[in-house]
Symmetry: C2
Subunit: 506 residues, 2 copies
């Protein structure tokens, strides 16, 4: 009989995955709910993680010639209405500003006053307001391309929210570009998807599948939406970034026109692409275990927690001196363009201290006691290994090898996630098998979903809708890989031009 | 007779200072008005400047133990009402969200729908919403201090707006800290004012005066407001950062209580401190000349514009090769913790090209022609010198000395601004002289204001109001320097405990 192992998080993933997610966030101190409906508070440990993700991504963007700018938070209602599908897509979830001051009302309480002549929508995304600027910035082909990114907060009023995954306000970046030709705009759309892939795979250690969205899952107003899709540990899919080829739709809506070399006036071609704090939710559900989150070293809020062990008060000066010297030395080293982040935790709270850092997901825990110091060694626990497994290193060896150890953890997390995804990705050609794969009663745990099914699809909205209705399973993407491999639609049996990824999704 | 010099900006500062300011921004491509009332678009050249200011400040904050976090954009009306003076101070300029979706109305047009039960105010500042989090985070003296900063957008509905100086939406940072004692909170209030001083003087090259605000200019709800005040070239004052000691006012409002070591429950002591994109307005008005802005090298969007001069098409390969190699070499060098930023501009538009970079305020313009290359030299113009003054450097000497040249420009800008402020800061003890100093008819140009008058003040609101009414002159601060030097109130002649700085202000 397997020994019952006590875990830091209760319930475990197996017992109740959604509740495990909430408890992991609570235990990690990454973020918390706020008293404002659907909005979250990102706490310092979570914000440091976001800063590192932003930095990595910002560097990748800038390397492709993108420059940052900032546009208004508010969008006049008439701007949003310029693109019909676009406003249709966002109308149900808009926070609307209608007044510009507060005044004492008849009841003596403050009430909204100073009604605006035109309501302002708090940006859910900024195509229309940025498009207005672009229309002024572009007049000739010589002004193109324009490659802009904005780091900002956006609001999409959500009725059912979950921290990081779905919140009414979230932080994100939105890129917007303008090009002289459709081909160049399509190329940029794909280039930015590749940038997201690099960021998510190399930094967040989350393997993803690249592909096109089906029509029904496209960004409102886009001609083509590309996405990267990751598998969570409950085998549901999470979209970790999208890149849209907008054709001339938004150029027409915002009058973004330019004169060609041949002196014709033409509408420009635009793209937009976004990724958000939602990635943090994906990171948690990709790497977390029953003891809490595991932060990939390249984006971790800090890399190592130094835990001085002071058994007798008289040991304190020696132990703290050793600890502080080690911290200084480690902090001078660089791991992937960042200084190594070190936390010293000298609280005298016994074993709870080590568990706190496990729950916070820090890659390395370094115990330093009087005995270790006598041997000039440290005792190191890795977050990608079980809590009790610790190894002794000579102090100097640890300093010399820390970046290699961090790299090993980074690779290990990616490989584990990749193996998991492979294990739960199944090619299914038979409709009955497909339905069984996604029917909870056939799973050991009802909250665990089948995984990714790679199956044919005829391209019709009917088949897509039927599967969604029957199984709450959607087409996550039409992957670039194996594009144009013919098969049969898993639903109706008609010809399929490309296999697609079916899954339940966040 | 002085030769009439043609300037790049029209009108000049002397002709029309407010209009000069608008034209300088336009010519620099830093930012522009948006179609959304009172909101600005910060363009890439302006945003890069803001990124550099943020980075400098963020490093200074973190060095004092401050950590970044993020709190909701929306503040429930009831939260804002918790502190009476606070809501009173902001009620007249709040953007209020009252609905959470859009629906087709009887007219067929989209209208706000889904009325909220409680209106949400778009944060004008976040004391009350962050206070709510603090009340949950603090329970014991062991949890203190809490040192938090947030980089965010805020909205204060302004009727008369000017880019950077006064906009309805602006970008800022707001720091919020919680302490166990009043003394510690006061110390932090002062420490953060010193951090602002370092940032503004050492990075933005703007000399400032530190001091206390008078009661009437205090932050709504604060016990004490400290500020730094800079002098613009029209001799008006600009507040470039404020730091507030909030006493226990917001702790009481948000129920931030803690248990002391002696196990008593007490309200905590809080501070807040903020600085914003307004600093960019100050930077423009401190250093700009009649040819446009001058960016201090430590925060400049880029450091050097390389301008290849191609007289014959066949020169192009050689000139561009030389230019690109130089750019690569310069970019590998570091100036004040940042890689040197280099722009290559090979547009063939004649003299307009050099003027474009002058108007953008880039510290160095480097002309590279076939003749220069033959001598392995470059021809360098400095933005702190007149446009026609250029010096020849050997290429290698320029590479070796560029950081020293940038430092010289940085120091020069600061010293120029300091000399200007000293020249226009006058100690005035006589009421008549004071009124004359601030009376436009006595100035050569009505739009130029007297400057800073250092005069006594009895501390009464009556005298402060009278001077404001008569002259639109306000008390900018009660400077730390010469605090407790007794004199006479410039208005009523009663005893003054400390001299104050009087000025017209932005």
């Amino acid at each position: 009989m397997a020994k019952q192992v006590k875990t830091a998080i209760s319930p475990t993933r197996d017992e109740d995955y959604p509740e495990w997610y909430q408890q992991v966030i609570k235990a990690s101190d990454l973020a918390e709910r706020s008293p404002v409906r659907g909005c979250m508070v990102i706490k310092p440990w979570g914000y440091a993680l976001w800063e590192n993700i932003m930095q990595a991504m910002d560097n990748l963007f800038k390397a492709t010639g993108v420059k940052n700018a900032y546009f208004p938070l508010f969008i006049p209602l008439s701007f949003l209405e310029k693109e019909a599908e676009h406003v249709e897509g966002f109308a149900k979830e808009c926070a609307v500003v209608t007044h510009h001051r507060l005044e004492k009302g008849p009841s003596g309480r403050l009430e909204p006053a100073g009604a605006l002549t035109e309501p302002l929508v708090v940006r859910p995304t900024s195509e229309t307001i940025i498009g207005d600027s672009f229309s002024k910035w572009v007049s000739s082909y010589r002004d193109l391309p324009i490659l802009i990114n904005q780091w900002a907060n956006v609001v999409r009023w959500e009725m059912r929210t979950r921290i990081f995954l779905r919140t009414s306000e979230f932080l994100w970046q939105e890129g917007h570009t303008v090009h002289a030709t459709a081909a160049e705009a399509r190329e940029r759309t794909r280039m930015m998807l590749d940038v997201y892939t690099t960021c998510v795979e190399d930094y967040l250690a989350m393997p993803v599948i690249q592909g096109h969205k089906s029509l029904s899952e496209r960004f409102p107003g886009a001609v083509d939406t590309l996405s990267i899709e990751a598998m969570m540990q409950d085998r549901k899919a999470l979209q970790a970034g999208t890149s849209h080829f907008l054709g001339q739709n938004f150029a027409r809506a915002s009058e973004i026109k330019f004169q060609t070399a041949a002196e014709n006036e033409e509408y420009a071609w635009t793209t937009s692409w976004g990724s958000s704090t939602r990635m943090i939710g994906g990171l948690i559900m990709t790497h977390g275990d029953d003891d809490g989150i595991i932060l990939p070293p390249k984006v971790a809020s800090a890399h190592a927690a130094l835990l001085p062990i002071i058994r007798k008060p008289e040991d304190r000066p020696v132990v703290m001196d050793f600890t502080e010297k080690l911290a200084r030395e480690l902090k001078e080293k660089t791991y992937h363009h960042r200084k190594i982040g070190v936390e010293i935790d000298d609280r005298e709270i016994g074993g709870a201290r080590g568990w706190d850092w496990i729950k916070k997901g820090i890659p390395l825990r370094v115990e330093i006691g009087a005995r270790d110091i006598a041997q000039n060694s440290v005792y190191v626990g890795r977050r990608d290994q079980t809590p009790n497994k610790k190894s002794s290193f000579s102090r100097d060896q640890f300093v010399a090898e820390i970046t290699a150890i961090l790299d090993e953890i980074q690779q290990n997390l990616f490989q584990r996630a990749l193996a998991f995804r492979k294990k739960h990705t199944v090619k299914i050609e038979d409709r009955k098998a497909f339905y069984e794969f996604f029917t909870p009663e056939n799973q050991k745990k009802p909250e665990i979903h089948g995984g990714f099914a790679i199956s044919g699809w005829c391209g019709s909205n009917d088949c897509e809708s039927k599967i969604k209705e029957d199984l709450t399973v959607t087409i996550r993407c039409i992957p670039f890989k194996n594009e144009n491999v013919k098969s049969r639609c898993i639903c109706c049996g008609k010809q399929s031009d490309s296999p697609v990824v079916f899954a339940k999704a966040y």
